[in-house]
């Protein structure tokens, strides 16, 4: 497998179709074709030349544009499959995907789950497809850009007659060009910003060669983008968590490894006000009733100085105080906290009055913190309330006669109280829930009367850290530069040559043939050089 030496003396790499220098057809097929395929300038795409070792075989597989397109089509189809039913991430998180899909979508859901489409974008085969596209991009590009670069660098001014004949725009005519005529054409070409090379009366005018690199620049951008996406799975590069935080609570910010804590001072929802806000909102307000103007968490950021073990009391030092609103996150140390969701009016405390049932007289009131109730509440003068049992999410009575709670969240708080009064120093038993009192062990003289509840809001904040954004940004920018480079500029060439008393003229562009004709035809008109004809039209 040696090199191919052309008649013109240029030594081409094995597999070259058209001589890099003079453009003469080197293969039989190329000699037979009516018009030359100029996409890669007839250069030797290396992949097609060696196919011996396993390395070459792998290389050649990925070098094929056909394979690349198939990979893209497969990825598109697979991606669309993932949108049929919601992905695992978006189903309620207290249900198991195993049962959820079948219960919600029937047999189709079961198949969906079984085939693993419920977490499609994280599945091995999907990542493999994307990775294969990445590999294909790299190899396809390398395999084409290097020979193309060589061919364009080595091109000679005087191209072989057959090369010119097999260009799409070509004409020939008996005669000779006068030097003045050639100068005139050259002047015209120069004014159109062509670079002109001359050799023994032959002429090559060329412009916009860099537009040929557009697709490859574009691919470099894509590869950088893919690298950025790949880095997201690297620990510490990308964090996306949700923090539910009640008013007044101070919690560790997930993803910060105990370094940062956040306090929710207050969560507010503000509506548009007909009176205060500009009139433009009135029509919409009348139609829908109320429209939210602002969701806001007043937050305080703390740093934990001792960063001790989980469970240890943090030593908090205030970093800053900020109002977090939608699209106005709190930012610190590569993290951003976004206002994401909320839950209004969770019960926080309950007020009850120890009341004499007959006289309706109040002996005193207790305010019970539903997150930290006390053992006993002393009301003085011999009145005392003891908490025997607390059921934050009361859900009826169990088999053993014991009241049950569904969860530790105070959704429906209930208490078993022992009411001690001067009349009943041993206490009376009362079971009290919201607007409900029971006397499980006999009638009582006193009761705990519901007086009111105190509520608070819970704010949900998204904790986001993304160190890959700038890489994605650079990748995207390079991608766009490549697109612009390839789309808004054309690589145009014009060859003029005299062969055996004839004038040959040929022209080539990588796109926009009409534009090329419009540019060069007026320059050649009224000279001995014929106007090249479109052989494909």
């Amino acid at each position: 497998m040696g090199k191919v030496k052309c008649e013109c003396g240029h030594v081409n790499p094995h597999g070259t179709v058209l001589c890099e220098s003079c453009g003469r057809a080197l293969t039989e097929e190329a000699q037979k074709e009516k018009l030359h395929d100029m996409r890669y300038e007839g250069s030797a795409r290396r992949s097609q030349t060696y196919n011996k070792s396993i390395v070459d075989k792998v290389w050649n597989f990925f070098s094929s544009v056909k394979v690349g397109i198939w990979l893209i089509v497969l990825t598109l189809v697979a991606s669309s499959l993932g949108t049929i039913f919601p992905q695992k991430l978006f189903i309620p998180n207290n249900v198991s995907p195993e049962t959820y899909y079948e219960e919600t979508y029937g047999t189709a859901g079961k198949i969906y789950y079984t085939l693993g489409f419920y977490d499609l974008y994280n599945s091995i085969w999907f990542i493999a497809l994307i990775a294969a596209i990445g590999v294909s991009l790299v190899i396809c590009s390398l395999d084409r850009v290097i020979p193309l670069y060589r061919a364009l660098k080595n091109q000679r001014v005087a191209r072989h007659g057959t090369f010119m004949k097999k260009q799409r725009l070509f004409a020939s005519k008996q005669g000779a060009i006068q030097p003045e005529e050639l100068d005139k054409i050259k002047e015209g070409l120069k004014s159109k910003r062509y670079r002109i090379r001359e050799e023994d009366g032959s002429l090559l005018a060329e412009k916009g060669r860099f537009s040929r690199w557009g697709p490859y620049v574009n691919h470099i951008g894509l590869i950088i983008f893919l690298i950025g996406a790949m880095l997201r799975s690297v620990q510490g590069m990308y964090i996306d968590e949700l923090l539910w935080i009640r008013e007044g609570e101070t919690l560790e910010i997930p993803g910060t490894k105990g370094e940062y804590y956040l306090k929710n001072e207050k969560f507010t929802i503000e509506n548009y006000d007909k009176e205060k806000d500009p009139e433009v909102f009135n029509a919409a307000l009348e139609r829908t009733g109320s429209i939210v103007k602002n969701y806001q968490t007043d937050a305080v950021l703390y740093k934990d100085e001792n960063q001790d073990l989980p469970g240890a009391k943090p030593k908090l030092v205030k970093v800053k105080e900020e109002e977090i609103r939608v699209n106005e996150p709190m930012k610190f140390d590569n993290f951003a906290l976004y206002q994401d969701s909320f839950s209004k009016d969770e019960m926080k405390a309950m007020e009850l009055a120890l009341t004499n049932k007959a006289t309706k007289e109040e002996a005193g009131r207790v305010n019970i913190d539903l997150f930290n109730p006390k053992d006993t509440y002393d009301l003085g003068k011999g009145y005392k309330v003891e908490v025997l049992g607390y059921y934050p999410d009361y859900d009826g009575v169990g088999e053993n006669g014991e009241p049950k709670t569904k969860s530790p969240v105070p959704n429906n708080p209930a208490f078993l109280f022992k009411m001690i009064s001067p009349e009943h120093p041993d206490g009376e038993i009362s079971f009290t829930a919201i607007r409900q009192t029971l006397e499980p062990v006999g009638e009582t003289e006193y009761k705990m009367e519901f007086r009111g509840i105190e509520t608070r809001n819970i704010s949900a904040l998204t904790v986001r850290k993304d160190l890959t954004l700038w890489i994605l940004g650079i990748g995207g920018a390079i991608f766009m530069i490549g697109v612009v480079q390839g789309a808004y500029w054309n690589h145009r060439r014009l060859w003029i040559r005299q062969i055996d008393g004839e004038i040959y003229v040929a022209a080539h562009t990588n796109k926009n043939w009409h534009g090329l004709k419009r540019e060069i035809n007026p320059l050649i008109e009224n000279t001995a050089v014929p106007i090249p004809e479109d052989q494909q039209a």
Binding site: I227, M230, S233, L251, E252, P254, P310, G311, D375
Partner: protein
């Protein structure tokens, strides 16, 4: 010939770089899920919690002893069922170097105390009010039990209730020094 060899080396290097990148992507993606969750054989994350009587318990202080680390809540029915077994075994294995540490998730002190009294629990109970220990162990459904060996490794993870006394005994045996 020399050029062919050069090309083969070049291609091999490029393919090797691509394979490494793809391989790393696979590795980091596939271990992403498992990374947060504790696995059998992992080092048990150290923590410190204060129990209901005000005494601090740091896991690393238990080195040399087996630990039955149980996460529970008063609202969780299976938790109630396994407590008596735990109480019994904690007494049986006390002299054999296995301790019980019960971490309550989400309850108030009052509830935990009442519960401990009702069930006559004598082993230390601590409330993880900040949920930091729960997060460190990746506990979601309750109950969850981690058997920690005398050298501080997670020997066994049981998610869900321990119904039979024998089951609990077998777990205690596992981490006996």
């Amino acid at each position: 010939m020399n050029k062919r060899k050069k090309r083969l080396i070049m291609r091999s290097i490029i393919l090797a770089i691509l394979a490494a990148a793809v391989g790393y992507t696979f590795y980091s993606n596939l271990t992403k899920e498992a990374r947060g969750n504790l696995q059998k054989g992992d080092e048990a994350p150290d923590f410190v919690l204060t129990d209901l009587s005000g005494e601090a318990h740091q896991l690393s202080d238990y080195k040399g002893k087996g630990v039955f680390l149980n996460f529970w809540g008063t609202w969780c029915e299976p938790c109630k069922k396994e407590m008596p077994h735990m109480e019994k075994m904690s007494k049986e294995f006390k002299d054999q170097g296995v301790e019980v540490l019960a971490v309550n998730v989400g309850d108030s002190e009052l509830q935990a105390k009442k519960f401990a009294k009702q069930y006559g629990l004598t082993f230390p109970i601590a409330i993880d009010s900040s949920k930091e220990v729960q997060d460190a162990y990746g506990v979601n459904p309750l109950p969850a039990t981690f058997m920690i060996s005398p050298d501080g490794k997670v020997e066994e993870i049981v998610i869900g209730g321990l119904v039979k006394e024998e089951q609990v005994r077998a777990l205690f045996e596992k981490v006996k020094p």
